[in-house]
Symmetry: C2
Subunit: 378 residues, 2 copies
């Protein structure tokens, strides 16, 4: 078995590890905190900074395959590990394009993938100038070029005052799409070019903080829309030569157009439902893909709702959950917590998967979960 | 959440931990080896001897609930922990009866549960005397009173020479039943007396070493037989006031009679298939039961075969598995390995669950697995 190093030890690393350790795969995580979620697997955990060249190099030295569970990695080290003969998935060139949303957008543009209209800028001064082109099309969306995830670095721009309040960093203004629904598509691709697509899922975000709130399967939509999303997913992963998982987030407009929002070349929150309704979970799939093992079946036999457990506005201190009895009284409901002791507003603490034959019954169970499963305020 | 201590850190402890940690349940294991399977969860693992009074007492001191994954525990310590207000599941009186097969048999006899005819003895000298009653009914089965599991302490007795070769320890001769099939039934019972029964499974043993080799679901048999097995499982667990899981192993005779072989008040190898075909796996179920949480659904929606991965006669050294590609090419096949580096003949190294709609197709997959998934001989 190839020895795998995962850069990052958050919940994605922890859930990759759960699948890896079940099969005794030699998989190790690195992250800077002593108690990151993946440190549960203490003997397979290294403390180090994924943005530090030396830490990444020394972690990678005895591994055969390097992968990531977050995009913000020291790229120079990844490139040097690749030169030293390590397999690095996703490849550093793809990662460089993806980690910067401005570069990501230009790339899509260059290969003809439909995305929202945008204007990028490198500073607040430039933003003020660029804003001139947008002031008659407000509101528009601001996105910072880097470090934007879980709604961070995303703002609605309604007036020049909103522009003046931005940080002085690279970013872009983006056309606000008239969204009918947001859809996630996951592709897994092997080094030999084989790929598997998971069925599309409907994503619902918290309107306040733009964090993913719930995911539904099935997501009903026309066959043409599904084919177009799948075509884009295949085209982008093949062009970037991405191996392992790659999550695609699409806007479907009210007129039925498919517009690509962004991608993440790794396991993704939108596909957590696969842990309980798919033949092969996204975490098992990623490990298969980057190890050069046969890809697993992406069939989802059951309807599913994934509900994110997220710190609320006034949630601070040690997390302690109420509602265990009520939630565990519901059948085919699976609680996944990430081992984070401290809760904070907007922090992802876990998720609950609800699966079954009938989506409407799952929605009833979701109501119960929403009502009872909460952090006890200290 | 109640703080749970598991005495024993083998594969059952490891798989209990996988379910516990997914939900951030505060669960800890103790075993004497530094690298026992459950030591994967290093921060939740204590090194200590489960047969040593002081070790068990000190491990239990800060726990709310004590449970076991093996029967051979220091009972005096369990009793003292119970006196000190800890919940102990299964209770020490039940454990005392079950850990000694001679006492177990007498107990079944006393409450009218059908078991094979038997004659117990306390020494080899007694065995020779008792053998007089059996010499016209050979072959019969010898079972040692204690420490008998995975076929250990079980012999076929064909002549007085076999008796003279026995160890000088307590044991019994037992009628050799004309077995049509061996069936496992699992019950989970809460402290409040609620219980859930899993559907019966067919068990197949290695004829050489008596170790469980494969388990099949569904196991086709008459409704009367199922009802009788369930009746016995409920009666025994209620009489012994067992909380948590209790596995029942039955002989079904060629004339359709149900005969109880033995029980194990804990997760059991026969129910590993539940990890991939049941709403609630046996490991989640045990944690629910002993925590006083609602019991989960024992529905098995798919057919399943569990195949035990066991060290073969000439398997020694570091385990290294061939056939990953062939096995992972099969869909709905789940490999579970226990983190044991050293392989030995008859050692349980892991298991593979095969699930799907059609048992005959699962049997084809099993043939592939048997052919390819093997330890590479060093």
């Amino acid at each position: 078995m190839k020895k795998i190093g995962i850069l990052g030890g958050g919940q994605l690393g922890r859930m990759l590890q759960a699948e890896a350790q079940q099969r005794n795969m030699p998989v190790y995580c690195m992250d800077k905190s002593e108690n990151a979620p993946a440190s549960l697997y203490r003997d397979f955990y290294t403390i180090g900074d994924i943005r530090n060249y030396d830490d990444v190099m020394s972690f990678g030295a005895d591994k055969d395959v390097i992968t990531v569970e977050i995009e913000h990695i020291n790229l120079e080290a990844l490139r040097d590990l690749e030169k030293a003969g390590k397999e690095v998935y996703p490849n550093p060139d793809a990662l460089e394009i993806i980690k910067n949303k401005n570069i990501q957008k230009s790339f899509y543009h260059s290969i003809g993938i439909p995305i929202p209209e945008f204007s990028s800028f490198n500073s607040k001064d430039e933003a003020v100038i660029v804003f001139e082109q947008w002031k008659n099309r407000l509101p528009c969306i601001y996105k910072s070029a880097e470090m934007g995830y879980d709604g961070k670095g995303v703002r609605t721009i309604r007036a020049i005052d909103d522009v003046l309040a931005l940080d002085d960093i690279p970013g872009a203004f983006e056309q606000r799409i008239d969204i009918d629904i947001e859809i996630a598509v996951m592709i897994a691709r092997s080094p030999d070019g084989n790929y598997v697509l998971y069925p599309p899922l409907a994503m619902y975000f918290d309107p306040e903080n733009h964090i993913l709130s719930e995911v539904y399967y099935p997501a009903n939509m026309g066959k043409n829309i599904v084919e177009e999303m799948n075509r884009i997913a295949v085209k982008v992963t093949e062009t970037l030569n991405i191996c392992g998982l790659c999550a695609f987030e699409f806007f479907i407009t009210s007129s039925g157009e498919v517009v690509l929002n962004e991608i993440a070349p790794r396991p993704h929150n939108s596909m957590h439902i696969s842990m309980n309704n798919a033949h092969c979970s996204q975490f098992e799939q990623h490990l298969r893909a980057i190890s050069g093992l046969p890809l697993g079946s992406s069939v989802m036999e059951k309807a599913g709702i994934m509900y994110n457990i997220i710190g609320e506005e006034d949630d601070y201190g040690t997390a302690e959950w109420t509602g265990w009895h009520e939630v565990m009284n519901l059948h085919e409901v699976y609680v996944h917590l990430y081992g984070k002791t401290e809760i904070k507003p907007a922090r992802k603490m876990g998720h609950i998967n609800i699966v079954g034959d009938d989506l409407s019954k799952l929605k009833e169970k979701l109501l119960t979960i929403r009502q009872y499963f909460k952090n006890r305020k200290s």
